[in-house]
Symmetry: D2
Subunit: 305 residues, 4 copies
Amino acid sequence: MTETLADFLDRLNHEIRLAGDWGSVADYIPELARVDPAQFGIAVALPDGRLLTAGDAETGFSIQSVSKVFSLAAVLGRIGEQLWLRVGREPSGDRFDSILLLEQEKGRPRNPFINAGALVVTDELLTGRTPRQALSELLGFIRAAAEDDAIHIDKAVARSEAETGHRNAALVHYLRSYGNLRNPPDHALGTYIHHCAIEMSCVQLARAGRFLAGLPDAPRMIAPRKVRRINALMMTCGQYDGSGNFAFRVGMPAKSGVGGGLLVIAPGKASIGIWSPGLDGWGNSLAGTLAAERLAEVTGWSVFG
Amino acid sequence: MTETLADFLDRLNHEIRLAGDWGSVADYIPELARVDPAQFGIAVALPDGRLLTAGDAETGFSIQSVSKVFSLAAVLGRIGEQLWLRVGREPSGDRFDSILLLEQEKGRPRNPFINAGALVVTDELLTGRTPRQALSELLGFIRAAAEDDAIHIDKAVARSEAETGHRNAALVHYLRSYGNLRNPPDHALGTYIHHCAIEMSCVQLARAGRFLAGLPDAPRMIAPRKVRRINALMMTCGQYDGSGNFAFRVGMPAKSGVGGGLLVIAPGKASIGIWSPGLDGWGNSLAGTLAAERLAEVTGWSVFG
Amino acid sequence: MTETLADFLDRLNHEIRLAGDWGSVADYIPELARVDPAQFGIAVALPDGRLLTAGDAETGFSIQSVSKVFSLAAVLGRIGEQLWLRVGREPSGDRFDSILLLEQEKGRPRNPFINAGALVVTDELLTGRTPRQALSELLGFIRAAAEDDAIHIDKAVARSEAETGHRNAALVHYLRSYGNLRNPPDHALGTYIHHCAIEMSCVQLARAGRFLAGLPDAPRMIAPRKVRRINALMMTCGQYDGSGNFAFRVGMPAKSGVGGGLLVIAPGKASIGIWSPGLDGWGNSLAGTLAAERLAEVTGWSVFG
Amino acid sequence: MTETLADFLDRLNHEIRLAGDWGSVADYIPELARVDPAQFGIAVALPDGRLLTAGDAETGFSIQSVSKVFSLAAVLGRIGEQLWLRVGREPSGDRFDSILLLEQEKGRPRNPFINAGALVVTDELLTGRTPRQALSELLGFIRAAAEDDAIHIDKAVARSEAETGHRNAALVHYLRSYGNLRNPPDHALGTYIHHCAIEMSCVQLARAGRFLAGLPDAPRMIAPRKVRRINALMMTCGQYDGSGNFAFRVGMPAKSGVGGGLLVIAPGKASIGIWSPGLDGWGNSLAGTLAAERLAEVTGWSVFG
């Protein structure tokens, strides 16, 4: 392209604001329901060390399910393949908080990105640790990946979710009933809710994802083979029952959160943090997904040719 | 790697034969049940025009569901996006011949690679054509892609499947009951059974897939944007309810058939035809999937970094 | 009650016509879609041989799924308990034409009153007989039960359903794919469609049901033990996924048809034929169900005390 | 019959002990897992005030889900029809502790006898009461129905279930997540576990069920119309996904519990308490169900003629 990437990001930011098609913020976590949907930010970390931004790229937001990528990476780095005895690797074809498949599959969640699977990952994170230690370790992992010690947990969001997260409470008890939870249900649930409540900006997210894109300046967090596998899981399962559609439109591994955050990986080329809090019908950022699609078109970063 | 790709393919061929872990051939199509499982072939088409082979790379086999990639390409080339009104783009999380989701989703198949979705694609292929014309057009498309006019339909396999394919007969009537079939059920079913009965060798398959890998010497069959989308669908849905596992282990878009064939695409790098008729529990080639995994490790062709 | 039963039936007839809440006629069988919904008839056969009627009790209608009671009785009379190897005895909790459970339960229909189960019963009916012979035998059974040789098949309805019954065609092929159909799919389907197209009036239906109520003047069709079992199946499964609600409101075994017919059995007390072609959301006669509920209240014929 | 009912019960008791086909005791509640399966008792309350017994008819056992009949009666007596806004009246076709349907039906349990439905009934029981008050009121209801103040809660069983009942904990949180639980989840769960832990003997159970059979000497607990409806629900849903089979074999409304208890109602004729702790594959008493079937054959008490 003759237009520089920096110029494109500015243009994208303006176009999205002009279009004003923001979707609706998640309403089941009161603290998130108050966020103004008319916000958009993007940050792109490149192999040459540059970090391009546009819009609200420095604004902190609740990363929610994007945190599942980091907890999975931390657990895979520690215990490796034996995780797959407890959780599958297939797209679920179902909503992120579905309990249906869990019953059909006797308590083994379909993949680590639906809530039930992420709760099992959190349970692994707790092995030999108190909830406080496990959270501290995970936060340390993310801070190291982003090389930014300012990243922290938003306690108000955690509190807000703890009061209303009955669906996740059901999942954790259900996992326990199948013997697929080793720690007390409230420990697993509390740790999960807190790591979902981590607050980051697009800039911090793009930097934290560099190790997944294999960028030269990324701190080495886990083995390249494990990186590839996490990217594969993001491609097939990262957007829940909208994953096929996202792969079709964008063609890059990505993980969304109901806070409107989106971590997109262009292997070897870029780590991208996007945020816009309004969601589409699958619970993924509406403007964020559109931005990722536009970026893929302009840059040719789709992994599919 | 210091070992050349040609040497690696020879070594892979020997290792797979030594291991002798072949799986079982499909037993529900009598004509396929007679095939000796202890066979393996691989062919790799490269950007420089070379075509490397090992094992039974010239032996013809029934491509079965691999044909769904070509019928999808032919239909997308002709009618484009409106196909997605009739069929979805999400992994199904269910067996290739499941009728469950079809009921839950009111007759709109989850994706074009499960049988129900492929029957809808075939129905589009029949628009304005007789079954004979539609088949001739599809065969023409594949011959043009492979630049090989010897590719043909194995009538004995088609006959064998017609006598026993009650599940597909159920699907086609079921689609009709939801108004998602325009042609007479027996036309759609007959055309589908015949295009699944196309016989190809690994060499022919690798050559026919070059347009999906975007190789320089490939005939231009459809627009690059559509190629990317077909690759995305192969990644998320190409191996049915084993797609997540395949993406995790291999990291390349691919489509399998119960005849044991496997078309694997490394965008920009290679088009790969693999065949070994013994299947794993998901109905995908056992040795073929292993070969794809080994190839990805050695070449670094995974799209995930 | 001081009001006689005959007077009550007249009052009921007037009240239902005054209320004018008729529901909608089945629209998926063109021939039935033309019937005027504003019709109501009732006939009550009593132990003393009297037959009380009100409204359109002599008008013929398509009995549709009510015929499943008679085909079940004929088959149980002939082969007995071995039928239960091929079909279950549990309420389905699903629509009458659902294919979902059939897949979950590997081709063994949940009960003989959902379409899939009735098709298996029809398949048994065909053992050693041509479709013509089987239909003739079933019609003979019904005529003998009603002691009325005027009962016949409405060929126009059968033709109408044959042209549009793609759902049943799917079911029959699906049963075949699981090996739970012995006769050619089109034989089973054709015989089924024709026995559903039998035309009867309320009077004929009430008379044909006397053997299920154990009325003294009923011809003995099958053993009392089998009668009890058919009544039990009507109670738990006779109104599809509205069976629980019907048992709750009416408290008598019954079988409905989408033609608006309803056969209700008060064991030892009465055999009741009701007809009103407009249906409720479960596909059962709206006014017919209301009439059965009112009759149960007034007579105390509920089996539940 | 020439044999008296008392003689038949003795013979039945001996035959069941001779056969020695006891099934397995429930293993998921540790306190119940210790019970010796080789026990059997039966008590039959008759309209003339007699109470016939055989076997271990005076031995106390944990009534478990049989208690759901009494909590439903107590709630229907108090609030009436509005309960049906929160819970359905259809057989579930699923296991007693399934969470599947709850998701498909957006948190409205299919009927009041599956665990999810009984938890909603318990939630109603708690309206305006503390758990202690609600339990005291329910116990009072049962004692009044049986005219026996010795009936009590087995605290050890309640404690045992509280420690292991993760599935019910999941259900209660899940109901809450759909807004179909008004009280704190642990209140509803605790009250439910305690009323399931009520201990009764066959004699006490038969006496407590007299109001459902409409026996002359029964205390009047609720209106006859409500009695009929509870009997209807027991017939269609009382044995979970084995209800159709039970209706087919026995033909009387009944409710089972995993403690091996069975309350069977012959409207106008008898209230029957049966107990044998070994269970069949549906979680219903194996010998108890057989005894009910034999009793129905000999007495002709089937409601189906």
